[in-house]
């Protein structure tokens, strides 16, 4: 069977001239004949591109054209190939015999035809397997992305898995190493031996990859089923909660055998401090302080958790007031000064009369009198004047060593 160049070009032209019509039919599945397209449809039908569908005016693409487009566009549904490897191998064996015979009889044209036949068959067999593999691989990678529901994904995965397992079984039935016997022909041309060796290598590689795809499909199916279980459980939980509005999970955090899943904490609140004495941090710290100063509303200090301690409810014991004896003496001295109007009262004399000389040094006594006077309310200070006596210090303006303080009530 051979086709001339013009015949092939004519078929391709026919496909090209009906591009929109064929695209419409491929996408929608069917095409309805009307007055405008009837002649085109008849012509396409005669060429084996369209076929009639269920009703008279309804047309579909023939399976050859549909498969061609599917293959060229790598449509996902087409990972299933009708590959009968045993038959193909028998066919190749026959072609090799024909080729050998033609060569022995020196019929070069016929030998060339058989060699091309062998090449096409070997190529198509491997291409079909490779296509199938690549589509299956794409399906796994996209998690059967050509269907959206989980249920469909599981179904598609099951079908693809069954197909892949069946294919592996079939391919393993073929004893591919027996194909090396084809090379036993002593005067075999290198062109053919190369093709056969490449075919055997590719075949082995396909089987190996297909086996790995089967493993990945099983794994994916397991994951999809887990997802299905998770979804069903989630829905069932929602129903359960609606039916049992009073239900609350038990407090498993108190269970001794708590699973690792629940051994989570609420999380640590992290409030790190800054070491202000670290010179490397001082510039940043200064910037932070200045930024805080510029804030219109100061940031409230962090509430830090503190441990509570029980309240002490005992009645506290009565304690006698501890009074400062010197304070009493100074108060008495001021009172004396107020009583003796018009007379000066000597702090030094009071110190001697009250025998304070044994308890406190005179310099300290005078210091205390002066300090206490400074602490008096302004009104009291106005009522009493101090006359401080002592030598002026040389070289200091207005400073003196106090040796006596005379107090007098202001009239």
């Amino acid at each position: 069977m051979s086709f001339d160049h013009e015949q092939i070009a004519g078929l391709i032209r026919k496909l090209a001239s009906a591009d929109q019509l064929l695209a419409h039919t491929y996408i929608n599945g069917t095409l309805f004949a009307d007055d405008n397209n009837r002649s085109s449809i008849d012509s396409l039908k005669k060429s084996g591109i369209l076929r009639t569908a269920d009703s008279a005016d309804e047309y579909r693409l023939t399976s050859d054209i549909k498969r061609l487009i599917d293959r060229l566009l790598l449509r996902n549904q087409r990972y299933q190939q009708n590959i009968n490897m045993a038959k193909i191998i028998v066919g190749i064996e026959e072609d090799i015999d024909d080729y050998r015979r033609a060569l022995e009889q020196n019929q070069q044209d016929e030998a060339q035809f058989h060699l091309e036949q062998i090449d096409d068959t070997l190529y198509e067999a491997i291409e079909a397997l490779e296509n199938s593999l690549s589509v299956m691989f794409a399906a796994i990678t996209s998690q059967f992305g050509f269907v959206s529901s989980l249920n469909s994904k599981i179904r598609q995965n099951q079908r693809a898995l069954a197909y892949a397992q069946q294919l592996v079984r079939e391919l393993n039935h073929v004893r591919i190493d027996d194909c090396y016997d084809w090379l036993s022909w002593s005067s075999m041309p290198p062109a053919l031996s190369r093709k056969i060796i490449r075919f055997i290598d590719q075949y082995k590689s396909v089987v190996e990859r297909l086996t790995s795809i089967v493993g990945r499909m099983k794994e994916l199916l397991f994951k999809l089923r887990l997802q299905e279980q998770t979804a069903n459980r989630c829905r069932a939980m929602a129903q359960y909660l609606r039916k049992h509005p009073e239900w609350n999970p038990l407090d498993w955090s108190e269970d001794a055998g708590m699973p690792a899943l629940l051994r989570r904490g609420a999380g640590l609140a992290q409030h790190p401090c800054i070491n202000p004495s670290n010179p490397a941090l001082q510039a940043d710290l200064t910037a932070i302080v200045q930024e805080l100063r510029r804030q219109a509303k100061p940031v409230a200090p962090l509430v830090r958790d503190s441990t509570s301690s029980p309240l002490d409810t005992r009645t506290p014991e009565l304690k006698t007031q501890a009074r400062d004896e010197y304070e009493i003496h100074i108060e008495n001295l001021f009172a004396l000064a107020l009583e003796l109007q018009g007379r000066k009262v000597s702090a030094l004399q009071y110190w001697c009369e009250q025998n304070l000389d044994k308890e406190v040094k005179v310099e300290l006594w005078l210091d205390m009198v002066f300090a206490q006077y400074c602490c008096l309310p302004r009104r009291m200070r106005r009522a009493i004047t101090l006359d401080m006596q002592g030598e002026n210090l040389a070289g200091y303006n207005g400073n003196q060593i106090i040796e006596e303080i005379l107090l007098q009530r202001v009239a």
Partner: protein, 210 residues
Amino acid sequence: MFKHVAEALLSGHFICPTAYPDAYEYLAQAANADKVNAFLQPLDRELLNLDGELFYAAYTVVDDSNRAAIKEAFAELRSQLRPVVEWMDMVMTALGQDMPIRARDQIRLHQLLQAIEHEPSLAEQLNRLTQLSLFKTNKSSLNEQLSWVLQKLEQSGYLIRPNALASIYIATGKINYLHKIIAFLNDAENLELDQHTLSGEDGEQQELFL
């Protein structure tokens, strides 16, 4: 990155590819995970990986020093269980999907709102949802209610919004953690959820949506 990861783990966060992509990538490398685990060990914690989708720190021992913290974390989860499960059920019904909501799933506010607006029973379900503690609100319009619910889920760490101006949310690994908790409660409290088929009245209603 170590510091960032350690702080996030100690703060009780779940590290997943959605919420902390860089930290997740860091922990996905075994050497880094070992380093972080070695840091956690003296703190009585360990790095756990949930189905390769999520990392979190769990206590290695339970004693008086951490019992209160564990109790607090579980109490929070218990209080969120009912509203979040109800929400997931509503989303699955609204979108007609039989897939569970899992980490990395996109939740589009407008798509969800459209589905709810066209189905009175879903609107009713959303309204009921806003009466539950986590989602409680007085908002009355469906749009406001749904936005509020998604906002609360974002605040609780179940969703993140990659773009604050867009209305697309992405589920975080915390959702997967919740699924694990449901599975645990199912087993531990014999809820028999796996035997619970979508039969009866509820089941028929679900069929109508799908």
